[in-house]
Point group: C2
Chain length 248, copies 2
């Protein structure tokens, strides 16, 4: 607690010492494997201490001149190639001693973590294996013990994903431009579980809302009647924006 670097606190003479921080950004990146009905999260095998050889959420430290959000995009771009994604800030963890580096090599520097939550399209997301660090989509149901407080962070992100899905159109940022209603239904059931509505009622409600446009184009997936491809109409959705509307 001894005062070092006194020149930095010209504006707070005689004040208690301020903490110095490095700021990390950790991403909870979800994707949905509709084929296998699994919700996945992107994990990275750590190549350095602390927590060497533990799975962790992909993270980075914020660089000079870099915004938090840019740092989040940077780390995402380092791990996967993807065109469509949804990203928003999740939560900031910043208690002292949450990072072991604080106690060893740090000279009193604190580590704060701003977490971001992302949703990407599974089919299009291409993992970037650099040949050194492990990287993998893990089913959320059976993620192992993670580094730092990342299990807690993942749980928080998972909850946020469920909430988002219920009152905002995130799904359409991540589905292909055209999709069948069954694609959409699978997407929802995978994330929310199967306890929200049967397919027929799901259809009826969603179509009545009027922001899904039937292109008339039909696709056939194996046996069965061909399905119509729909488009999300962002303008038609506007009236529902930020309303406490649960469209499921």
């Amino acid at each position: 607690m001894a005062g070092r670097n006194p020149k930095k606190i010209t504006y707070s003479l005689n004040q208690p010492l301020l903490a110095d921080f490095k700021v990390g950004v950790d991403n909870v990146i979800f994707s949905v494997d509709t084929a296998q009905n699994r919700l996945l999260v992107l994990l990275i095998m750590r190549q350095q201490e602390p927590f060497l050889n533990h799975w962790s959420l992909p993270g980075t430290l914020v660089r000079q001149g870099e915004s938090l959000e840019n740092a989040a995009y940077r780390i995402l771009a380092e791990k996967i190639r993807v065109k469509n994604l949804y990203l928003e800030q999740l939560y900031t963890f910043g208690g002292p001693h949450r990072d072991p580096r604080e106690d060893s090599e740090s000279y009193g520097v604190r580590y704060l973590s701003v977490s971001y939550f992302a949703l990407v399209r599974f089919e299009e997301a291409e993992l970037i294996a650099d040949g050194v660090s492990g990287i993998a989509w893990y089913p959320v149901k059976d993620v192992p013990q993670l580094a730092f407080d990342h299990n807690q962070l993942l749980a928080y992100g998972h909850q946020r994903l469920r909430n988002k899905l219920e009152y905002s159109p995130v799904a359409f940022e991540v589905l292909p431009e055209m999709f069948t209603l069954n694609d959409l239904y699978q997407f929802y059931t995978t994330i929310l579980g199967e306890n929200f509505a049967d397919y027929s009622n799901f259809r009826a409600r969603l179509l009545k809302l009027g922001f899904l446009f039937d292109t008339g184009i039909k696709v056939s997936r194996g046996a069965g009647r061909p399905a119509s491809l729909y488009k999300f109409d962002a303008d038609a959705f506007l009236p529902f924006k930020d309303k406490p509307l649960l469209f499921i």
Copy 2:
């Protein structure tokens, strides 16, 4: 971008330089003046540069060994005396150049702001005037231009308050232990506006949910039939916790 303090980055040799941060905590503190049907926010007149003599949200810089949440509580305690309050983290703003101090006196240090959102009981909250800095409850409808990006922050907090109210029992953390249904109704209308339900339906729905306990005690406020005092039963509310239930 020149390298100073190289000893701090032992774990990232040959890596781009990391940003050094001071971390601020800013509070959006709301209260509800039910008597006058006004939603209020606590503002502080700044006594120092930057933004000298501008109104701002109460904030502080995080000290060594202090958690973010503790910093939020500290600043709150410096400004008001209050027993019951609700507090949660709001958002973290951290782009470069959002704080003018970064460009002048800072030697490259960045300022990041973690904001907290609080709700306190107006009738019990006692403002602490230190005789130096101005402090006041401002109706949210007519806050002036604030320092930094605080207007944006306030708008964000206001939205969060509205959402919180709709699906969580924050109201009861801030109302007196015993309250009339009309107190509760006033509270909701003040924050949400008058477009959610008339008093009679509000009553019926809320009572049917079964987590309001009628104490039988009557209280008379001027003319009119005396009202029953109710208590919030936290146990009875549990089944509704985290459900996407809108009880208004």
